[in-house]
């Protein structure tokens, strides 16, 4: 005999599905596009990076240094402070742009030009990295001013596995000179073993 499948009321399932979709959508934070892709080394460490109040110093495989800090208000304040320090005044527009972009890797001198670029253009150009030599250490100023803008900041160093230790050492020494002795090295999960 022919059986007709009994109709199932899908409404509760759909309700649940949408509830979950909404939940995940709201909790998800968009990954900001970084100017460089960094392949972090693996480690057995299982400490997770806190989600907020993180300052990230990225070192890519060509040993360029990038700086990033989260929080729009922190960034806006930071730009003001940096401007003050270097005698550059940034317009409201530029501050707004700076607040929403991700890592930056240009010397402070050319920051104004960089912010004036269109977003697509900004993605295209290769950023030279932040000078972190002892002669001209702009990274130190970024770190210092960022910490003044948000004292709760934690510092994370995200280095590419093929970055030269020389550059990493420069960055670490910059930190120690500024009395920053605790920081995190971002790694990913150990594969296998």
């Amino acid at each position: 005999m022919a059986r007709i499948a009994p109709p199932i009321d899908m409404t509760p399932m759909v309700d649940l599905a949408f509830l979950l979709v909404t939940f995940f959508m709201l909790t998800a934070t968009a990954i900001p596009d970084e100017p460089v892709t960094v392949d972090t080394p693996s480690s057995v460490s299982e400490i997770k990076l806190p989600e907020n109040n993180v300052m990230t110093i990225t070192i890519d495989k060509d040993s360029r240094v990038f700086f990033n800090v989260d929080g729009q208000f922190t960034r806006a304040e930071l730009l003001g402070k940096i401007g003050e320090r270097y005698g550059i005044s940034f317009t409201e527009e530029e501050t707004k742009t700076f607040a929403v972009i991700s890592s930056i890797g240009v010397p402070i001198g050319s920051l104004k030009q960089f912010l004036a670029l269109k977003p697509e253009k900004r993605k295209e150009i290769t950023q030279p990295g932040i000078p972190s030599d002892s002669a001209q250490n702009e990274l130190a100023d970024w770190v210092l001013q960022a910490r003044l803008s948000n004292p709760k900041l934690r510092i994370a160093i995200k280095g590419d596995r093929d970055a030269n230790y020389g550059t990493v050492k420069k960055v670490i020494n910059t930190m120690i000179d500024r009395k920053v002795n605790r920081f995190n090295l971002i790694t990913n999960m150990e594969k296998g073993s």
Binding site: V14, F24, V44, S45, K158, G159, N164, Y165, I176, T187
Partner: protein, 171 residues
Amino acid sequence: MAELASDDGGKKKKGGKVRAKKSSTRIDMTPMVDLAFLLLTFFVMTTTLNKPQTMEITMPEKPKPGDEMPEINEKNVMTVVLGDDNKVYWYMGITDPVVEKADYSATGIRKVLLAKKAELPKLVVLIKAMDESKYKNMVDIMDEMNISTMQRFALVDITDTDVQLVKEAQL
């Protein structure tokens, strides 16, 4: 099942009291459910896989002039030199050290570290990375320190003597 009967709904005003045809308003929800689950899967995937891990390190403060340095017996000192090309060298003590070569595998430097640790409970490891070594090497060696639960280790600047030693050893 999929029709939403509203074809004549808009025109009824002209014709006076023509009632809209009452038909079932059941909608086929399948595509919507498909979409909902697709999105659900997407968001579940993206949120859980996106948590970077970190290794927390605390560097010592720069010694101030006049600070007293603790003295260590040189027998307890092990120096690990990270060279270029993923090579790692190690030696014990300071006077007339014998440089040996190891690698980053589980049977390499880890074995040495564990053996030395068992032998000398007061072992202090000095990690000296050459500028040519990679960041990965540094993380690897820190990892080895964690694995072998080394209590005392320090990341120090490399000296010319160390470079010379490694070069002379020709491993």
